[in-house]
Symmetry: C2
Subunit: 236 residues, 2 copies
């Protein structure tokens, strides 16, 4: 048997690279969004009495970042996200140790609830976040998501497979946090060609039956922010 | 004096975090673009006989990533880029040590040449890149840049302060690597409102004098991919 105490006494060669650069700690953080009962929510973990933090973890050694982000969502919600996009990587120099946070937006389908999931879901504005960094990431995630509504079909990841045009407008209004003119909204939508009629009607209470729509395609510009070599399979 | 050999023999407390997570080496890489004499080019560093690598460096300890990227451009070209945008962060698990690359697109103004700059400028397709990772990053930077031409004024960072509509169309065509219909291009441009006439004419050789245009504004959607708290001053 090797005596471990004497093994520790072997001369240690200085590593010049380690001396030049103290490497930062690497963390992956997620900003999960979901429309729940018509309310646009962000998912967080509760700490202490009423403070919240974004789900985060250090990747395992040599674990790909996108895989770490997806795994984090599986652990937090019970299933992979409908859509995952790298948001931004930032350096937190003030914390000890120095920290690099790679952040992701995760969109969760509206019909995927798990009773025992780790996350609590709140409206973004209502949230008391413990860390300033988490607030910066959440605010920027909202900026990115709102901007993408204008030129991609990203909102559909927040909707069920089929939906009425009213459902769709509600999601847009909730994410943008502003009311939209129904006539304008429908005209633009029709011009964009991103939705297709299913021919199926749905009756909601006493209202006139509304037609259900679906994605025309799921391969669109919305994915260009994720490089082809990093793109993961979307659960079907 | 402390005997360093015996100091090394002090019992070493195991650090559970270090055992769980071997931290990756952090690198910042840049994909610099510039239009040079009407040709859309990427800037690289020559290694060996004819191979190229993207400019890259390890940030100093606690150096912000965006500052490291800007500094890298200053060192490579002699001045900060006209536009800098974080592209993607990826993990290279196959290399030793494990490596995290935070990549940036940098756009360089067409009138900024420095005779002794470190970079060589080539058309993207002609380039023989030593590392597969650099090719992935370059290809994805082109995808992102081309997509952004459609909904932002990002191309203007590749143009001088004033320019003719033909200058502008040439930049679009070079970046997109396809010819555009002049009439359609001008109609869309006019509708977008992103350029403003200066009233000044420029005569090129024997052609009819062409009016010079400028940006209507530099505060537009093109910057939304950089969070407000990370945005740097653009050199005026």
């Amino acid at each position: 048997m090797i005596d471990s105490s004497s093994a520790l006494c072997k001369p240690i060669k200085p590593n010049p690279e380690l001396e030049l650069h103290v490497e930062p700690r690497l963390t992956v953080s997620i900003i999960p969004f979901q429309v729940r009962n018509g309310v646009f929510c962000v998912g967080t973990i509760v700490v202490g009495a009423s403070e919240h933090v974004l789900p985060s973890r250090s990747p395992d050694t040599r674990e790909p970042l996108d895989a770490a982000a997806e795994q984090l969502m599986v652990e937090s919600t019970g299933h992979p996200p409908a859509y995952l996009e790298q948001l931004y990587t930032l350096s937190i120099e003030q914390r000890e140790p120095w920290r690099i946070i790679v952040s992701y937006i995760a969109l969760v389908s509206p019909d995927s609830h798990r009773p025992n999931e780790e996350l609590v879901w709140r409206e973004p504005a209502d949230l008391q976040l413990r860390r300033d960094t988490d607030r910066m990431l959440l605010d920027y995630a909202l900026v990115r998501l709102r901007a993408k509504l204008g030129y991609t079909n990203i909102a559909f990841h927040l909707l069920p497979r089929t939906f009425t045009l009213t459902d769709l407008q509600v999601v847009y209004e909730r994410v943008l946090d502003q009311e939209l003119d129904k006539r304008n909204f429908r005209r633009r939508l029709s011009a964009s060609g991103i939705v297709t009629r299913t021919g199926v009607l749905r009756r909601d209470g006493k209202h006139r039956p509304a037609e259900l729509y679906r994605f025309t395609s799921d391969s669109d510009q919305s994915t260009f922010l994720t490089p082809p070599w990093a793109r993961m399979e979307t659960p079907s």
